[in-house]
Structures are given as structure tokens and as C-alpha cells.
Amino acid sequence: MWILGVLIVSFVATAVLGLLAKWVDRKITALVQWRVGPPWYQNFADIMKLLGKETIVPVGARRTGFLLWPVVGLSGAALAAAVLWMVNGNPGKSFVADMIGVIYLLVLPSLAIIMGGSASGNPQSGLGSSREMKLLFGYELPFILALVTVIIAVGTLNLGEIIRFQGEHGWMLLKPSALIGFLIAIICIQAKLGLVPFDIAEAETEIMSGPFLEYSGPPLALFYLTKAMLLIVLPMFLITVFWGGFALRGIGLLTSVIKYVIILVVLTLIRNTNPRLRIDQAVRFFWFLLFPIALIAVLLALKGY
């Protein structure tokens, strides 16, 4: 029964914090562009409005898949959030190789975008889905190699063990190999979140928000919420693995929030100072630039640095 409680509490907390984080993102964007920006409740209003609107299923769409995949994507993000909140709340509650579980769950939202976009039957959504798929193949390789640096250093796939190890030996970040891994992972979560240099899949100015093109009302709200939750889950995952864990008690909570806000601001500033890449440029960037660097980081980790 308590597991259900953990699920609900972590879902609500992640959703609320995610929507607030999205507001911070929009507000910083506005300030960078010398504007005022939206009020703090803006994203809550957006979600409420979308939930109240009509759901349209296009004639050419596969009805079941079109309506099911947003839910699958949201549940993937919610489950990953639940694992991370639980592990950070009590490292002893961690189970065997939960890091692999989290990596798998974090692919689900991207998969939902790909499948939902393909199911909508719109050629532009199909184009967006194929781009998202290529991007997934691009960033997943350096992202996992970046995490491998920590796995080699600690010698376990257990998130609780990793947090405990960092409690005894200091942040992973302080090791050169893990520092390289952390920087690579930040670029990879930029792509996972679909923020600007890598918003190739939903490119509003060329393919009209791609896979989301045919979505309206509640399913669109679910995708919106998934993105907002990923904005919490992915930085939290990086903090857990590289930056000494997301402590939830006492003074630790304050440092956790500061760590999170630093990552969020870095993501937003990358998003505001870069133009969109083409899909071939992005894949080349991930495979031929980040992959060798990640490989070097792994070799350094094997040497013990």
C-alpha cells in the first residue's frame, strides 16, 4: 500500500515542481529577450485549459495508439520520478540495478513522442517522429557512456550505493572522468528535453511542432506535463549520480535546490544562446564529437582517475 502512496506523492510533487520549473525557464527566457514574461501560474493555467478542451482524433489516425501513447510517456516519467524520490529520501530503499531501470523509463517519453506522432497519420508528424528517433539514437550512446564513468568508479548499478559512496568519498564531480561525463550528460539531457539546439523533432518554424501537431486538448496536456516532469526528473537523476545525491532532509534540501537551480539555469541559457541544429549536424555532433570524448572519460575512469 505504501508504494501507491509513494507513487502518488512523487507524481504530484514532480508535476507541481515541474510546472514551476517550466515557469522559471520561460521567465529567464523572457528576461534574456528583454521582456516581462508570464506570471508564475501560467503553466498551471495552460494545463487546466488543455484538460478542458475538446479531444479531436484525426480521420487518418490510429485511434488507440494516438490516445494511449501520451499516457505511456507520462507513466514512464512518473515511475522514474518515483524511483528517484524514494532513493533520495532513503538510500536504503534502493533495489538491485535501479539505475538501469531509470535509464529505461527515461526512454519511454521519447518513445511515446515517436509512436504518438506516427499514429496521428500526419506527414509532418511522421517527419518529426523520424527526427526524434534519429536524435534518440544520437544522444543515448554518449549519455549511457557518461553514466558508465560513475558505474566504473563506484562499482555498482545501485543508486542508493552510489549516493552512499559519494557521502563517504565526496562528489563524483570532483573526479576528472566523472566531470567530463557530467558535462556530456548535461548536453544529452538538453536533447532528451527537446530544448533549443536539439528541438529538431518539434521545430515549430519548419514542421509546426512535429509529433504534437495533431494533438489537442487532454492528450496534448499529458505531453506538456510529461515535458514538465522530465525537466525535474532528468536534472535530479544527474544530481543523484554525479553531484552527491538530492538530499531531502534538513540543510541538505537547501543545497539540493541550489544544485537543481544551477542545472536548470544552465539548460535555459544553452537554450537561449544557440540556434537549432539540423538533424544530421546533431547526430554527427553526438556520434563523432561527444562519443569519443565519453570514451576517453570511460578510459580515464578505468585507470582510476
Binding site: G37, P38, A45, K49, K53, I56, E204
Partner: protein, 143 residues
Amino acid sequence: MSLKLKALKKSPWVYHVNTGACNNCDIEILELLTPRFDVERFGVILVGSPRHADALLVTGICTRQARPRLQEIYRQTPKPCVVFAIGACACTGGIFKDAYHFAGPVDEAIREVDPNAIIAYIPGCPPKPEAMILGVVKALQAL
């Protein structure tokens, strides 16, 4: 119901439909989104798909080519939605009212699809961005 409506008033996403305008009104609409007027303060975002939109910003006289397409876009927009006829041409036909390619003003084209459509008129050639903001505020109050 009232909560839904309140949320709709706080985040109207707009889709821009050009049904044969001379681009003057379009430039003024883009002016709205620039830092000077910054309508994101009120939650207004320009979206690329009518499926995401809550408001259609229609500019230009409704030409014979554009009329069926405008009606199709209105059908594709999830309800509840608001239509804004922006500029003298969209409101009445303006100086083109006797032209051979004029197919009736925008409100008639929309009413043909949905007799109960909510249509707001913002006259002017082109209307100022301030006038557009005022029109949006008035339309949302009437909702």
C-alpha cells in the same frame, strides 16, 4: 466549468490565418509578440497548429480561394475557441468589397460552419497592437 473558463482566459493560444491580407495586419500581429508589447505576459503564445489554438487571428478579405480553407481550419480547431477578425478587410471587406475575388466577410464564412461561433471584430487599417490587446481583453470578458 468556471475553472476551465478561467484557465482559458489566462492562456489563449493563437493561430494566425491569413485569408488574403496585404501583410500589413500580419506585421502588426507580429509586433504583438515582440518585446515591446510582449503578450506572453497574458499567456498568449503563437502556435503552429490549429489543433493547439484557442483563438484564430484572421486577417485579410476572405478570398474565394481562402474561404473553404478558413472554414476547414475553423472545423479543425478544438472548441471552445474564439475568432478574431483583424483589420477592416476581415471585418467588412473594406475597399475590396466589390472586387471579383471577394467571397463575403470572414464572419459570414465562419457562421456558415458554426452559427454560434464567438467572433470579435478589431477594425483598423491596420489596427494598432494596443487595439488588438483591447479587443482580446473585451472578447475574453464576453466569454
